[in-house]
């Protein structure tokens, strides 16, 4: 395995000895076989020399051990790359951005420190997965929901730090975050929000504390390692129901989206909006007309019925030609048999892995391209037409385009899932295609909310207002807070000074 860049063998061996004294021999991994386990399982560089691989992995179990590891890294100038559960699949998995990085594998920090059923929050360590928290809630019979993303094996901390999303009214995971504990690049320990006030009982109840709000700078970030995080939970609703609004003409999409925006932004329609259309797939050559919008409602039994009824009335007034179909309705708690019969229970707060049926049995993995699109009919039509056309021109397989959805409130995401294959040439073309889509999207003002480690520089390049003022500000923060540049160099296209100087 590679050495950390710029570090000689003697120093690296000495550093590993120091790590072993902190976490124990068993939890420092340096053999080829063990370190190989940290490769990106869905790497677009699969079986190519550029596939990033760490030099070693260290698995602390406490915050104090993380602090000690960070201090060791400073002494030896080792680049660190922290992972929580390592399931950031489609965006880099458990792999570092820079080959030779030392992994800080936080999976062993898997304590659920608190679950409040009355104030509806949890305090967790990074190794806690959505499955773990769900199972604990069920075991204790608590009447709270989590908002799982598609991969239930993901970490609440990791997914939130990557600003991931789910499907329920709590689907914007960073917006549901409340209070962090962070090991800073010099090993100092910081608690954000009310966590900075000794004895406060409100760390998971009031996000902002006093002074500038910091939590955002630790997301998609290389400014620290988060060791605890508060997450707001949803009180278990009485009921859920879904309804579908359909229109026959693409010309009506603008009016439909305006009405749905009103309903969503006034909290009548909750959860993710999904827009189905033949235009947003490859099924009929792209000449199709018409859209179906899936609306979701969570709340008291009678209220969800009233919300659906009101939504129909409002859309019908504007679009008398629209048609409406009742979707399924569920009352909670569901029985075990009801849960077992659901192909995808994620919108009901139940984590699963059904999304991994995408390409299963055919591919070696997938790669997500995920641009943020304005929530207007005009922009959605433009985006599906442009993306679909570009993918067809580039010969990308037909199942790549996922229907537009309001993955986050007030905007649309169109996911494009590229297959990772066993064929190096195909993967090379996929990387080229991905880069072309990044540019093509940016020309139209569509930027990725998150990207794979292989494309972070290209995506950050697109956020270029005022001669890249955003990146320059990030670099300024990086150099001030992490002068040795040890935490996650290159994360989201932000390189520390000594790496920038080498690249120049």
């Amino acid at each position: 395995m590679p050495l950390p860049p710029g570090v000689n063998e003697t120093d690296f061996a000495a550093a590993l000895d120091e790590f072993r004294r902190v976490v124990g021999n068993e939890w420092v991994f340096s053999s080829d076989a063990d370190v190989d386990l940290y490769r990106d399982a869905y790497s677009p560089f699969l079986n190519e020399p550029e596939d990033p691989v760490p030099s070693a992995a260290v698995a602390p179990q406490t915050t104090e051990q993380v602090q000690a590891c960070v201090r060791i890294a400073n002494r030896y100038l080792l680049p660190l790359w922290a992972i929580s559960t390592g399931k950031n699949l489609g965006y880099g998995g458990s792999a570092p951005r820079v080959s030779g990085s030392v992994m800080i594998d936080l999976k062993r920090m898997d304590r659920i420190l608190e679950i409040s059923e009355t104030n509806h929050y949890a305090l967790v360590e990074p190794g806690v997965s959505y499955f773990d928290l769900y199972r604990e809630i069920q075991a204790r019979g608590l009447k709270v929901w989590i908002d799982p993303p598609d991969p239930g094996w993901g970490s609440l901390v990791g997914n939130t730090l990557e600003r991931g999303g789910g499907y329920t009214p709590m689907r914007d995971h960073f917006a549901a975050q409340c209070g962090m504990e962070v090991v800073l690049p010099d090993g100092e320990l910081l608690r954000t929000g009310m966590g900075a006030l000794p004895g406060a009982g409100t760390w998971q109840q009031y996000r902002y504390g006093f002074g500038p709000y910091l939590d955002g700078i630790f997301t998609q970030s290389s400014l620290g390692i988060v060791t605890r995080m508060g997450v707001w939970l949803l009180p278990e609703p009485e009921a859920y129901r879904r309804g579908t609004v359909a229109i026959d003409s693409n010309e009506d999409l603008g009016a439909l989206i305006e009405e749905i925006n009103y309903l969503m932004n006034s909290n009548t329609v909750q959860g993710t909006l999904r827009l189905q259309s033949a235009l947003a797939s490859f099924e009929d050559g792209g000449v199709s007309q018409g859209w179906a919008a899936e609306l979701q409602f969570y709340g008291p039994d009678r209220v969800v019925d009233a919300q659906w009824e009101h939504s129909q009335e409002r859309v019908r007034r504007r679009l008398p030609q629209a048609s409406f179909t009742d979707g399924p309705k569920y009352r909670f708690p569901l029985s075990e048999a009801e849960i077992a019969g659901l192909a995808n229970a994620v919108p009901l707060g139940i984590p699963g892995l059904s999304a991994f049926s995408f390409g299963a049995g055919q591919n070696q993995g997938h790669l997500w391209f995920a641009p943020i699109i304005p929530m207007t009919g005009e922009a959605i039509l433009d985006a599906v037409t442009v993306l679909r056309g570009a993918l067809a021109d580039l010969g990308v397989p037909a199942n790549a385009l996922i229907p537009p959805q309001s993955y986050f409130p007030r905007s649309i995401v169109i996911f494009v899932g590229f297959p990772i294959t066993a064929d190096i040439e195909t993967n090379r073309r996929t990387r080229e295609t991905y880069r072309r889509l990044v540019s093509l999207a940016a020309e139209r003002g569509w930027g990725e909310y998150r990207t794979h480690i292989a494309f972070m520089d290209e995506v950050m390049d697109c956020y270029s207002f005022n001669d890249h003022a955003l990146r320059r500000f990030h670099e300024h923060m990086k150099d001030s807070i992490d002068p040795n540049g040890i935490i996650a160099p290159g994360k989201n296209g932000i390189w520390p000074a000594r790496w920038r100087n080498q690249q120049a």
Partner: protein, 115 residues
């Protein structure tokens, strides 16, 4: 090196032909079996029964009536076969690290599957 579909078919075939069936050890109650607990935690979400289980769906598609789609019903697997897939992954199934399943936890899980 990650396993790819072609490599895997060879391994699967070898395992199927080998058809090693180990005698079932005396079992304690299921909820006391640490191997089953590890299986339930790490494998069931993808390889369990019912809809929305991509691992089971893929194996059903691949084997048809020749082998059970549920890993817990298989009798043709060997310890090496299982260890290889857990540590190297296959298709969209990623490899699992030792912080997720230690070698001894993996051994217990394999023992459960080979019971």
């Amino acid at each position: 090196m990650r396993r790819t579909a072609g490599m895997v078919h060879g391994v699967l075939l070898a395992a199927a032909l080998g058809a090693i069936v180990l005698p079932a050890p005396a079992r304690s109650q299921e909820n006391e079996d640490p191997g089953k607990a590890h299986y339930d935690k790490w494998c069931t979400p993808c390889h369990g029964d019912g809809p929305g289980k991509p691992g089971t769906d893929v194996l059903r598609q691949r084997y048809g009536d020749r082998l059970p789609a549920l890993l817990e019903e298989r009798t043709d697997m060997t310890a090496d076969y299982l260890r290889t897939f857990v540590r190297e992954g296959i298709g969209v199934m990623p490899q699992f690290r030792k912080t997720e399943l230690t070698d001894s936890e993996l051994a217990a899980m394999i023992e459960y599957l080979l019971r």
